[in-house]
Symmetry: C2
Subunit: 405 residues, 2 copies
């Protein structure tokens, strides 16, 4: 994986998660970077989210310090003091302005951060990203890989999530790399989700924010696991300009290439987050097409993707399309029962609102597939929208019944 | 249980459900009754629902024929022909006008009714409610009890649901009795739910409809299991006037007593439906008080009651109040984190948005309780609303993954 120039990573274990698991990560850019962010719409926001929302106004960042295992949400005044201290300690260790450090926390809500255990680790983290000390002199590589950083921000994720793309602007290579974590409380606007995107592109903060917002809208705002919306969702991007391209404008030749690479990066991560939904065994793409309006397409797809009954049926390898009709009907969109066609992958299972008698074939398709595409054609108009989700399993219940124990 | 005068029941086994389980029920009033109904808001409606919506305009009913195991939804033109035929056969057997027969079906969506097995049972059902043949000559009671009828309309319900109340109007006893079934797709407006209410009250159809609507609003529209809304939800009431009271007007002395008895009846059944949510181990009452508006109170309570994360935590005996805060925050209502108090039963677990450190006590309370009351005080205003729900378990997933297998 090609890492954008000037970015290094380090991780540490502060004992916030279970012993033996890294739970602190630091991402550092050797140059201060243009920065943009998109944050949870939940009215209850973690202290780090509040801090980052205030700091992102400057449009500049140089480091992100993140911990997993504790979200630092509903922790009152002390929670904000802790978030500020995490940033300050990292800034001291890195020798940079503390306003350039962003803080992200994910995990349990309502428990104070164990700062006594976190504090001593932060200087160690800062040393780890120092190019002088962080590069393995034998292999010539940073000692901490981007995968290590992705692993350190995991909570109930089952695998670390990374993605990278590169593109060229007038012969110069520009790189994008990103990490993300899921995997419960995943719902449009956004998800229990952290995503940190790094690029060596040279671009102004305003345009960076615009591009990020559009990209999140098409990726992380199109996935759902359980309909719950986290208090910690944060997507941050840092663009440090080390690729050496002339500062990018919206009219620049390379802007479309950047947008495409950014969308591919966020799209890949969103797909991983949906596939790694808590307890999931299947990735499910719900495409509603033929809708009268774009909003109808989105609401219809979201209603299907959020229906526990649809998701448990798919887990049970049962193409119980009646529940899809139910979910469409309850969404309140314009629909005529006798116009609805439904496809499981390419198999038409419902025509004009009625069964095609394909239960057995559909069951076989479900049994052999880890990725399912449900297509609903409302035959009411030209609009379509897609949402990614996963199936709903006993394991989801177990994970969330036992989360704090 | 005191049955309103003039109502009799019969049940039969048509092999729609598994062998050995009754799946047809007939409720008969010896006099044509004033009738009212409330139906699902889902845009996809079963054929029987469409038929009943048309018939209820007359405000008169004399019989309800119901089957479980198959909802007769998304079954096209044949579905409507089948619903009409069920009513006609029942009417023939009973010797009454077919427009006075209402049809309700609950169960799987999208599969045609097995009319070849249902048809021959309907005359048998009609014979069963005939007072001449239906009364056990030895015991002097109807052979089929109201519990039997309640059992015959069960799908994944684990127990039959019946309730009855009586009250007096100028010395005359008036009786109300009702049966209901749940237990997935349970959500306000309404539930995967059938409820049939019988009373011997004398009342006009307009006032009956008004009373029923108000009563449903406070009972079945205040429960949720999984946020899904069925295509078959139906509440019907028949009032045959055999109590002999002077026809009731809104200004009548007894109207308040009737409303109270009706609300108690629907309230009891709604509580049973929530407690018997698929896979549920706990009944959960979510009270949001101190809200700025009534709508905020309801939306806040619904968001908590529908959150899979809250419901799995309660299943795991974990008073994970951070998830309650998350659910409040995502609901979009007016909220200030530092004003929120949360109680588990009478134990205050959150004060001013922060933990009271009562996790262990709360865990014990949860472990020993089958009924949990969560009270959230937003401290923003005078409004409160309550919603009933249940916890969310592996068993819910299993039931719904295997429903059609």
């Amino acid at each position: 994986m090609k890492i954008p120039k000037g970015f290094t990573f380090s991780t540490a274990e502060a004992g916030i998660k279970k012993p033996g698991r890294k739970d602190l990560a630091l991402i550092y850019s050797e140059e201060a970077a243009a920065a943009a962010g998109v944050f949870t719409t939940n009215k209850i926001k973690g202290a780090p989210v509040k801090l980052d929302i205030a700091r992102i106004r400057s449009g500049m960042a140089q480091a992100i310090i993140a911990n997993s295992g504790n979200a630092n949400v509903c922790t009152g005044r002390q929670g904000m003091l802790d978030a500020v201290e995490m940033a300050r300690l990292a800034a001291e260790g890195l020798g940079i302005d503390e306003d350039l450090v962003f803080v992200c926390s994910t995990g349990v809500i309502g428990t104070p951060l164990p700062m006594d255990r976190i504090r001593p680790r932060i200087h160690e983290l800062a040393k780890g990203v120092n190019p002088a000390k962080g590069i393995n002199p034998v292999k010539g590589r940073a000692r901490t890989s981007i995968e290590d950083a992705a692993r350190a921000i995991m909570t109930t994720d089952t695998f670390p999530k990374t993605a990278a793309k590169s593109f060229r602007i007038s012969g110069m290579e520009v790189r994008i790399a990103a990490i993300a974590k899921g995997s419960g409380m995943i719902h449009p606007n956004m998800a229990t989700m952290l995503c940190f995107i790094m690029t060596d592109l040279s671009i102004g903060k305003g345009l960076l924010q615009k591009a990020l917002k559009a990209s999140v809208e098409k990726s992380f705002n199109r996935i759902t696991v359980d309909g719950d919306t986290s208090t910690s969702d944060t997507v941050l991007i840092m663009a440090n300009g080390l690729a050496g391209n002339p500062p990018m404008a919206e009219s620049s030749e390379g802007y479309a290439a950047f947008r495409k690479a950014l969308d591919q990066t966020t799209g890949l991560l969103a797909r991983m987050v949906a596939a790694d939904g808590e307890g999931a065994t299947k990735l499910i793409e719900v495409l509603v097409k033929g809708a009268a309006t774009k909003k109808d397409a989105l609401r219809g797809a979201a209603s299907i993707a959020n229906s526990p009954l649809v998701k448990t049926a798919l887990y049970g390898n049962d193409a119980n399309w009646g529940r899809i009709m139910m979910a469409l009907g309850k969404s309140g969109i314009a629909i005529e029962e006798e116009k609805v066609d439904i496809y499981l992958k390419r198999l038409k299972i419902v025509e004009k609102g009625m069964s095609m008698g394909k239960d057995d074939e559909a069951g076989s398709l479900l049994r052999e597939s880890k990725e399912i595409k449900l297509t609903v054609d409302l035959n009411m108009g030209p609009h379509s929208e897609e949402i990614l989700t996963c199936d709903f399993t006993e394991q989801y219940v177990r994970i969330n019944a036992e989360y704090r124990t």
